[in-house]
């Protein structure tokens, strides 16, 4: 309350003070018979000098910032492409800083130098084809160099990765990342969002996950945490339950939607080839940290569960959006282990990181995953401690019964058609 009062008092006093000053100024102008549109030589000169002063202070501030924080506050790049990017970034910075200093200096210098002086008339100068040609052609040449070098690097960065590259998937959702390693076959198993269950968060396609997803859709969880078609119907048909109309509509819509999704799942199951199970079963799912092996090429693919996220590795100078309904990719070759970078940065706690860099909801700013770049030996040792998807999935207790409770609902498309 007191804050509001003080603010109000300060504002009112401020306005009054300015009003009084203006009043004094106006009276004095009137006395000297001065009009607002006539800018006195003194004012002109003062502003011209201020222009020069400003440009000097601006340059000092800018150079100080540059010396203190450097061109890349992230430090040295830690990937092969990152080094190339940084080299190009430095070159571009040299070019734009020359342009920046040259033109800004001229601007402020002219504003200072050519301030109106008594008896000096402006020079009538309308155009000059030669001059204009010069400053069209020079930027064009410089830009051509920038474009050519830029596209060369761009093609290197976005080109296909080598056959030996290790496949990894990064799966994003509000508000965390999950990594999936492709396992011994170096092939990522197929996935479909409709198979997503608590036990199969990435929706991997195997015979077992299909079965379990279909059962969940048909029945739900008996503890009532997930309502499948059967549980929903039971709830709706139970004469003891009374629903408000909105809730009823919502449940009915839910039932229809689940029925349609179930049909798609059953179709998928019919087409499923059991031989593909192995491809997904040997994948390794990793939640908290992403381990990479130094000097190995990684082919990363990205998926999103809910909204767009962006996988941003600031130290590798790598970034790619993860888009729902789309698989995106990038390749990266980390060339410095975490340990080496810690020594270089003289910060024993430093870590590489994967951040989300596309607005994705309230906790967007917390969505990150620590990245560790290991030596080959460390990486191998770490990988040995991991369990593959098959063992993790099949080890989990079955939460829905294998056969329907009352036999009323059967996984049968003809049944669905009747509904």
């Amino acid at each position: 309350m007191s804050f509001k009062l003080i603010t109000l008092v300060v504002i009112v006093l401020g306005i009054l003070a300015i009003a009084q000053l203006v009043r004094v100024y106006e009276l004095s102008s009137k006395l000297r018979n001065r009009r607002e549109e006539d800018i006195s030589n003194r004012d002109n000169k003062m502003n011209g000098n201020l222009m020069m002063l400003f440009s000097i202070i601006q340059y000092i501030g800018f150079i100080w910032l540059m010396l203190k924080y450097g061109w890349t506050g992230r430090g040295e790049a830690a990937s092969v492409h990152g080094l190339e990017t940084d080299w190009l970034l430095n070159l571009n910075f040299v070019i734009i800083l020359i342009a920046f200093f040259a033109t800004n200096s001229l601007l402020f210098y002219f504003s200072f130098k050519y301030v109106r002086k008594p008896g000096v008339k402006a020079y009538y100068f309308t155009h000059d084809n030669k001059l204009e040609l010069i400053w069209t052609v020079i930027p064009a040449i410089v830009l051509a160099i920038i474009i050519i070098l830029g596209l060369k690097t761009w093609n290197n960065i976005t080109g296909e990765s080598g056959k030996e590259s290790i496949k990894i998937e990064l799966f994003s959702k509000q508000f965390d990342w999950t990594a999936r390693y492709s396992g011994e076959d170096n092939k990522l198993g197929y996935s479909d969002y409709k198979l997503t269950t608590q036990e199969n968060e990435l929706g991997l396609i195997t015979t077992a996950t299909l079965d379990s997803a279909i059962r969940l859709m048909e029945i739900g969880k008996l503890d009532g945490t997930v309502l499948g078609i059967q549980l929903l119907e039971e709830k709706l048909n139970n004469p003891k339950n009374i629903f408000v109309p909105e809730e009823l509509v919502k449940m009915e819509n839910d039932l229809d939607r689940k029925t349609r999704l179930l049909r798609l799942l059953v179709q998928m199951q019919k087409r499923h080839n059991k031989k593909m199970d192995a491809r997904a079963f040997d994948d390794i799912i990793q939640k908290d940290t992403l381990h990479l092996c130094v000097n190995k090429e990684y082919e990363m693919s990205f998926r999103a569960k809910d909204v767009i996220h962006s996988a941003y590795f600031p130290h590798f100078r790598a970034q790619m959006n993860a888009v729902p309904g789309l698989v995106t990719r990038l390749k990266v070759i980390p060339n410095m282990t975490t340990q080496e970078m810690r020594i270089k940065k003289k910060n024993p706690k430093f870590n590489y990181v994967l951040m989300c860099n596309k607005i994705c909801g309230g906790a967007h700013y917390k969505m990150k995953m620590i990245v560790v770049v290991d030596t080959p030996a460390q990486y191998k040792a770490w990988m040995k401690t991991k369990t593959n998807f098959k063992d993790v999935f099949l080890a989990k207790p079955v939460v829905t019964p294998a056969t329907p409770v009352d036999g009323a609902v059967v996984a049968d498309t003809s049944m669905m058609a009747v509904k």
Binding site: E84, F108, R116, L151, Q319, K345, K349, K358
Partner: protein
């Protein structure tokens, strides 16, 4: 005045509406069809919206500089709902950022800037009695007002305003389950923007028709002041690109309420598995940026046009390379349509298409460079009169350079990867688009205030305003580049996450964030000089004369008192280009466009 009007009546029977002096309050001040009044209405609305957007930015800057600390200032404006205990809520942070961006880009710099000065200057500078359609013009303003109102209302609803960033990328903007602002807040945002687009289209069509059809005798296209060229090309850009945003918004509305899947595919949100399949969020981004990039020039070109005029007048020199300036405006206008993909280098768009956009984007640097060099040469050996308007125009050239050069980094896809969506981008577009356009707008207000209100602004307050704004704005955005180069992502509520992996960067980001916020607060307080000056001078400023800046263009040949039809007598006839300043052999250092060429005098262009 009465005698003049009589004379006019004699000369020009068709314009007997000069006589309607006893208009009602409503038709004169509210539902006015007069371009001068509509221009003032736009300006007032824009000043208000600009203030709101600036306040929003201060609110979230406080959070960024002192995260988690209780602030009475936040409680004062946001209350316990959005700032419990004086600490901003995460979702509201995103809401503030979103509405700040939306208002600044669309309401202040598109509606406000174009609306004010196109309306004021097009009829005045081409020698027309009014816009081609006064009614459409009025409709355009009132739709703008309605959309502003709806946008303001969205700040006060229970679930908060739109929170998906000013670009409102789906699926985030399509799914209320993903963030609360994507409920009613987003519906209001989309409604408001749809009305805004309709308003902008009506306005732009009117500007185009007026410039093409209502030029007075002798006003060839190559005798138009650069302001008019800028407004003209801006209007064309608006007509061609805003409808695409409308279609993007309509498709989004359908995805939200009619169950379509234009932008949605394979989504599980809030534990619910959606059926939508086959849509693409990238489609939205293409549609959005097809407007979004021309939009940058819709914002920038009018500011450049205004500054061309102001710099020529106050250098007492012709603008250098008039034809090259027109060529640059046209080239920028054309190129702006084929560069939108540079916002999408890392969205999963095909990298080859990306490289085409690199090429076209960097091409824009050429006409932009030409413009800068032409400004510099105009200043060279001039006789500069540093009015507040002139200072802001010079400030604009400075920010256009400083912000333009960083664009070269961002246009280069290989480099963009490293800084995309970081504060480097935020700093870049605030300098090149925000500061430049705002400086252009201020320059315009200081320069044409006598024409709008018949009064003079206080010059000293204008100086104070300029210096505080220039220092404040550079103080905000120079350090921001370095925050971005440190890799700090934009739209982060706080940077505490850095504490977990890189304490050095964390310290740097936090230090600079405090510096930035302090400068932002200084710059915001500095706007007090302008506000006071503006309203005080409207009420009590000294009366102006007909041509206070000794300028050549037609608006300064009209009487100080506003009249219907602008000129009391016949429309003026134009005999020369608009930049005859300090022409050798002339008595005065300016020759108005209505003065016929003397015998043997050559017309410059």
């Amino acid at each position: 005045m009465g005698a003049l009007a009589h004379e006019a009546h004699g000369h020009h029977g068709a314009h007997d509406h000069h006589e309607h002096h006893d208009e009602g309050f409503v038709s004169k001040y509210i539902f006015s069809m007069d371009h001068k009044m509509i221009s003032k209405q736009y300006l007032m609305t824009a000043v208000f919206m600009g203030l709101v957007a600036m306040l929003l930015s201060i609110l979230f800057r406080i959070q960024l500089a002192w995260p988690g600390e209780s602030s009475d200032f936040l409680t004062l404006f946001l209350g316990e709902t959005w700032a419990p205990g004086g600490v901003l809520k995460e979702n509201m942070y995103l809401g503030l950022v979103t509405i700040h961006g939306t208002i600044m880009v669309f309401f202040l710099l598109t509606g406000g800037l174009s609306g004010t000065f196109s309306n004021l200057l097009i009829p005045f500078q081409i020698g027309a009695r009014d816009m081609a359609s006064g009614f459409l013009n009025m409709l355009s303003y009132w739709m703008f007002f309605l959309s502003s109102t709806i946008m303001m209302i969205s700040l006060f609803i229970e679930t908060g305003p739109a929170m998906a960033g000013w670009t409102i990328y789906p699926p985030l903007s399509a799914l209320p389950q993903a963030i609360e602002g994507s409920g009613l807040g987003m519906t209001l945002w989309l409604t408001s923007m749809s009305i805004f687009i309709a308003s902008s289209l009506l306005g732009s069509l009117n500007y185009i028709v007026t410039v093409l059809n209502l030029r007075t005798k002798g006003m060839k296209m190559t005798r138009l002041p650069l302001t008019i060229w800028a407004f003209f090309v801006t209007a064309i850009l608006g007509v061609l690109s805003f409808p695409v945003l409308l279609s993007a918004a309509l498709l989004l509305l359908m995805d939200r309420s009619a169950g379509t899947s234009f932008y949605l595919s394979d989504i599980i949100v809030g534990g619910e598995m959606l059926e939508n399949h086959g849509g693409s969020p990238l489609l939205y981004q293409h549609l959005f940026w097809f407007l979004g990039h021309p939009e940058v020039y819709i914002v920038l070109l009018p500011a450049l046009g205004l500054s061309s005029e102001i710099i020529a007048t106050n250098s007492r020199k012709p603008i250098f390379g008039y034809r090259a300036m027109i060529g640059s405006i046209l080239a920028i206008g054309f190129l702006s349509f084929i560069v939108w993909g540079h916002h999408m280098f890392i969205t999963g768009m095909n990298p080859f298409i990306g490289s085409v956009f690199v090429f076209t984007t960097l091409l824009i640097a050429i006409p932009s460079a030409v413009k800068v060099f032409n400004y510099l040469t105009t200043l060279w050996r001039g006789s500069l009169i540093l009015t507040p308007a002139m200072l802001f125009a010079i400030g604009l050239v400075s920010t256009f350079i400083s912000g333009g050069v960083t664009g070269i980094i961002l246009a280069d896809s290989a480099l963009d990867i490293a800084v995309h969506d970081t504060y480097f981008v935020v700093a870049h577009f605030h300098v090149v688009m925000g500061m430049s356009a705002v400086f252009g707008m201020f320059a315009g207000v200081y320069h044409w205030f006598p024409k709008m209100y018949g009064k003079m602004l206080n010059t000293r307050l204008g100086y104070a305003h300029f210096w505080v704004t220039l220092i404040g704005a550079y103080g905000v955005f120079f350090p921001m580049h370095f925050v971005g180069l440190a890799g700090a992502p934009r739209r982060y509520y706080d940077y505490s996450v850095y504490g977990e992996f890189d304490t050095n960067s964390y310290e740097m980001i936090m230090d600079l964030n405090v510096v930035i916020t302090v400068f932002a607060i200084i710059a915001a307080i500095g706007q007090g000089f302008f506000l006071f000056n503006f309203f005080y001078s409207i009420a009590r400023g000294p009366k102006t004369v007909m041509n206070p800046w000794r300028s050549t263009t037609l608006e300064w040949t009209t009487p100080v008192e506003h009249i219907h039809g602008n000129w009391p007598g016949a429309l003026p006839e134009v005999h020369r280009w608009p930049y005859d300043y300090s022409k050798p052999g002339q008595e005065e250092d300016f020759v108005s466009q209505i003065v016929p060429l003397a015998e043997g005098e050559e017309e410059a262009h």
